[in-house]
Chain length 342, copies 2
Amino acid sequence: MKRVSIKDVAREAGVSATTVSYVLNRNPGETISAETTQRVLEAVRRLHYVPNLNARSLSSRRSNLIGVLIPQTEPGKEFMFSNPFYGELLSAIEYTARKNGYHLLLSGTQEDQSYVNVAQNRGVDGIIIVGAYPGRNLEELRGMNVPIVLVDSYVKDAAFHTIGIEDREGARMATEYLIAKGHRDIAFVSGSIREHGVNSKRYQGYCDALAAAGIAPDENALYSDTVSYEYGVAAAGEYVRRGRKQTAAFVTADVLAVGLVKGLLQHGLRIPEDLSVVGFDDVYLSRICYPSLTTVHQDIARKGAEAVRLIMEAAAGAHERMECILPLTLVERDSVMERRAR
Amino acid sequence: MKRVSIKDVAREAGVSATTVSYVLNRNPGETISAETTQRVLEAVRRLHYVPNLNARSLSSRRSNLIGVLIPQTEPGKEFMFSNPFYGELLSAIEYTARKNGYHLLLSGTQEDQSYVNVAQNRGVDGIIIVGAYPGRNLEELRGMNVPIVLVDSYVKDAAFHTIGIEDREGARMATEYLIAKGHRDIAFVSGSIREHGVNSKRYQGYCDALAAAGIAPDENALYSDTVSYEYGVAAAGEYVRRGRKQTAAFVTADVLAVGLVKGLLQHGLRIPEDLSVVGFDDVYLSRICYPSLTTVHQDIARKGAEAVRLIMEAAAGAHERMECILPLTLVERDSVMERRAR
DNA sequence: TTTGCTTACTGAAACGTTTAAGTGAATTTG
DNA sequence: CAAATTCACTTAAACGTTTCAGTAAGCAAA
């Protein structure tokens, strides 16, 4: 039960292996007669030949493989890859990659883990890293000789291409929207605020909007290390415990916002009557949850597509650092209402 | 900027490449002295050597790579991979695979597409196929010389291992539960009912429960199309159009159930007061939606883990066909209530 | 007629591993 | 003490491609 190799095809077609390779790869500069091409393709079909891509990678040093690294927790505990946003992004990346002849090498990442082993040794043509933050992991990657795209990271490093969104603008937009609806006490709920992370930018945007309206930022911002539905629920409890000072909340991730809403409902509060909520990301879930979530929309499909595009361009020889920032819009749904006296 | 290879390590450590390979692979039967082992490992560390897994696969004919095929639609249109269940399952597969030293080669599949090219040519050690149904695609795979695990398929074929759940039992359980709550007119909402597919089993289970209670199944209570949130919403419209005969619905996928509920709410109906709903899968979303969904729970994390285990066992030499059926339980949440007169 | 160019191929090395088979030296066995 | 065994390695072939550097034939140009 041996695999059929290029040599078998060559024998069948009465040509050399080299010729078969040239036929299959339409190698520029090489000329193969129409007749021979026919014979080779015939043989390929007859023998059901499929090229061994490992051998091809080994020889040509390109693999048509893109490594994708996504934060992962133990399964069953949380959403797919800890945030449904990651799932949707992955889906978009996969789709674009496949349409361009790439395969995906998928690996989850956990805090302490080395990034390098995960992907380098397969000879990937590029790596897309989602949700990374600076640290020894990124240091490791710098030495690698492969294009790397960081998604949603504010690391400015010549070694990494980045793709992101107008975080600060988006947050300002959301907060301004709440202010325009008459709210002045606006909670800020997010995952951990780290330097170079998206949340610090979103916090800035939130402050920008408050400042423009002459409101002092709320010292009691709620945030945690993890972006999760569970933390959203917990934050609701905390909000009640603290005396429900705010009439609105800007939440930096939909999954968190949905948890918050759920938690508040469980406490017998009504949304948006008792608290107006604006989320961030516009994951599919936001349309589904109850009440449906007013949120800052980002084009996830496009983000994935651009990530793949950057890898391809870099692999094709582009050498300067590339950066791609996508715009945001606000989508109004049912989780916000005009402020009224309580 | 050359890659460091095993030969560089060999030179550095003053031994042959073979010795380095033996040290790195702890090859059984081969003895390498402690001192040499030390020297080699030192050299590996000094040179930051990482083995080229493509070369390894080529030479050893095992890749530590598992191909995963998941139904995929255009991104942005629907959930991750068309059903959040797939995302959660993928997450579980990834986790288990990684813990066992495997990487994942991910590919989405679309209706018309050949499965073979997607994975075979990378020399994967096995393929996990989610949501496949018999057809020419499976025919193609039969010829391949690689363990294949079909998830949720009732294809009985010596060429494929399978992993599934007690679909019929689960459906019976759900329907019996509704009957026990006093319902007699129970809708059946599902994706397309195909031979060898899970939905035909679930339909049987639904009929079993009705029969046991002396209820004749009603053609008019059937809603079947595609598994998607959108179709759930559409089914709600259809339900209203048909005159709201049923007081309860058994829905064969949570994502569909959530759409149905959403659609009904949009029509001004209340859940569970106007319609009791039981879903299937217990995806994370079921806890989050409003009202939270009573549903048939399956252990998705375990399912993913078992899929990987089957691949590993098959790769290790097990040759008879393996089949793994996991049990189901019913989880009660807020989408069902006792029937009362209307 | 020689030279040079084009066309259509082929040979062989290289990519980075694994692994079967072998090799000497040291050690044990009969 | 010779023979057999064990130990600790090495040699070289193989895995299935790509690709550089030819080559031989045909033809046009000088």
